[in-house]
Amino acid sequence: MGDLVIRNLTRSFVRDDGELLTAIEKIDLTIRQEEFICVLGPSGCGKTTFLRMIAGLDQATSGEIILDGEQIQGPNPKVGVVFQEYSLFPWRNVIDNVAFGLEMQGIDREERYRSAHQYLDLVGLSQFSQSYPSELSGGMKQRVAVARALALDPVILLMDEPFGALDAQTRNLLQKELLEIWEKTKKTIIFVTHSVDEAVFLGDRLVVLTPRPGRICDIIPIDLPRPRERTSIEFAQVRRQILDLIAQPKCSLQ
C-alpha cells in the first residue's frame, strides 16, 4: 500500500519545427511508502517533466504511473507539490494560502484554519499567518509552500528544486527542517535537484538521470545513518562516488 509504481514511462514533445523531442524515456521505478527519493540530473534532463507527470499536470506519451493501485490521470489530492518558483498566491495571506486546498474541498472556515495552523506550526511560521507572501523571505515562502502542500495530507510530496533559489545557509537549514517534517509526517518524498550535496544529504535512494533524453542511469541507495553530517568522511566518500558516476560516459552521454 502507498507504493508508487512507474512503468516504462516515456514523454515526448513535438517541437514547432516538427522534430520529435524525447524528454523522458522508458523509466521504470518503484518507490516505497515513506521513502525519500532524490532525482538527480543536469538541467534540461526532463526532471521537471518527470515530476509533472506524477503530479498529473502532464500526460505520459506511453507507460503508466500507479499510486495505491490507481493510475494517475490528473491532479490528485494524494499527491502534493512544492514548486521550484514561488507559487504562493500573492493575493492571499499566509493562512489562506495554506488553507486553500481545504477550502477547495469545501471544509468550513473554522475547521480549515485550525488544520492550516497546525501545518504552519510544523514549518515554524505560526506568527506569520496574517502576512502576505510579498512580505516573506525566500526561505519563508518555501516553508509556507511546504505547509500548503501538506495541508491536504497527501501520500506523496513532490518537490521540484524547491530550495534552488535560496542562499546556501538558508538552503542547509531548510534541508534539515524538511527531514524533521518527513520524520514527523511519514510522507513519501520525491525531491528533484541538481545538487549532489543536497541529494546525498536528503535521500534514501538517488535516481540519477542522463541528460536528454532523461533515462535512469543508475539508482544508488544512500546507506549513511541519519542525522547525516555534511562534513563527515563517509559523506564525502558517498558524494565523490556519485560525482564519479555522473562524470562517466554512461550517465553523461546519450
Partner: protein
C-alpha cells in the same frame, strides 16, 4: 530630511503655479482681452459660481450627470468583465469574438450618438449608452490581458490543490490574479467615460446635467458660467480618479508592493 524638505517645496511650487496662472488669467482678461465673452476673468467665474449656487441647479446637474455616468460605467462593467474573462480564459471565445471587437473598438464613442438617439430616444439611457461605448473597451481589454498574463504556476498550483474545474479556477485563481489589471482598466474607463459625458448630454437627453448646462450657457453667451461647468467637470473627473487610485492602492499595494497605479 532632504527628501522631506523637497516634498514640501514641491507642493508649494504647485500652489505657486496655480496662483500665477490665476493672476496671469485675470491680467489677460481685465487688461488685454477686456471682453468677458471671449475670456471671462477668474473674478467673473467666481461671481457666476456664487450666482449658480444661489439659483440652485448645480447639485441637480451633478446628480443627473452622475446618473448618466453610472448607467454607462455600470453597464460597461457588466458587459466588459464577463466578455474579457471569457476571451482571456477560453481560446475559442477569443478567436471567435476578437475580429468583431477589433472592428467595433476603433469607432469613436461619439459616432454612436445617432444610434443612441434612434435606439433609446432622448433618455438618460441614451446618454448612458454613449458613455458605455467609451468605457467598455478599456475594461474588456484590461480584463482580457489580465487573464492572459496569469502566471502558469498559479494555475498549476491551484490544480494540484484540488481547484480543477474552469469555473473554480477562474473564481479562485484567475480573477484575483488579474484583479489589479482589471481595476486599472476600470480607472481608465472611468476617465474615458467622463470625457464622453459632455457630448452625451449635448443632444438634449435631459434638462439638467453638467454637459447639458455647459451648452445651455454657451447658447446664452454666458461664458463665465460655461467656465464654472468646465471646472466642475474637471474636478469631479479628478475626484473619481483619486477615488479609484485610493481604492487600488489600498487593496493591492500590500501584495503587489506598488506596481499598480
Amino acid at each position: 530630511m532632504k527628501l522631506g524638505g523637497r516634498k514640501i517645496s514641491d507642493k508649494w511650487l504647485g500652489v505657486l503655479a496655480i496662483l500665477l496662472t490665476l493672476l496671469f488669467w485675470q491680467a489677460m482678461a481685465s487688461l488685454v482681452v477686456r471682453n468677458p465673452f471671449i475670456l471671462p476673468s477668474p473674478v467673473d467665474v467666481v461671481t457666476a459660481f456664487l450666482t449658480l449656487i444661489g439659483s440652485g441647479t448645480l447639485l441637480k446637474d451633478i446628480g443627473v450627470s452622475l446618473v448618466h455616468f453610472g448607467i454607462g460605467l455600470g453597464s460597461a462593467l457588466l458587459v466588459g468583465i464577463p466578455i474579457g474573462i471569457a476571451m482571456g480564459w477560453f481560446r475559442g471565445v477569443d478567436a471567435f469574438l476578437d475580429p468583431v471587437i477589433e472592428i467595433i473598438r476603433p469607432i469613436p464613442p461619439l459616432a454612436w450618438i445617432p444610434f443612441a438617439i434612434v435606439w433609446f430616444g432622448l433618455t438618460n439611457a441614451s446618454a448612458g449608452f454613449v458613455i458605455f461605448i467609451g468605457a467598455v473597451f478599456p475594461i474588456l481589454i484590461n480584463t482580457y490581458s489580465g487573464f492572459r498574463g496569469i502566471p502558469r504556476i498559479f494555475v498549476e498550483a491551484g490544480k494540484v490543490l484540488g481547484c480543477t474545474r474552469d469555473q473554480a479556477l477562474i473564481r479562485y485563481i484567475a480573477f484575483p490574479s488579474a484583479l489589479p489589471q482589471i481595476a486599472a482598466g476600470i480607472r481608465i474607463a472611468s476617465g474615458v467615460g467622463w470625457m464622453c459625458l459632455v457630448a452625451a448630454e449635448l443632444f438634449g437627453v435631459s434638462k439638467f446635467g453638467l454637459g447639458q448646462k455647459l451648452w445651455f450657457f454657451y447658447n446664452l453667451h454666458q461664458m463665465d458660467s460655461v467656465v464654472v461647468y468646465m471646472l466642475l467637470l474637471g474636478m469631479i473627473g479628478l475626484f473619481f480618479d483619486w477615488l479609484f487610485r485610493y481604492y487600488i492602492d489600498r487593496h493591492f499595494l500590500r501584495w503587489r508592493s506598488g506596481e499598480v497605479a
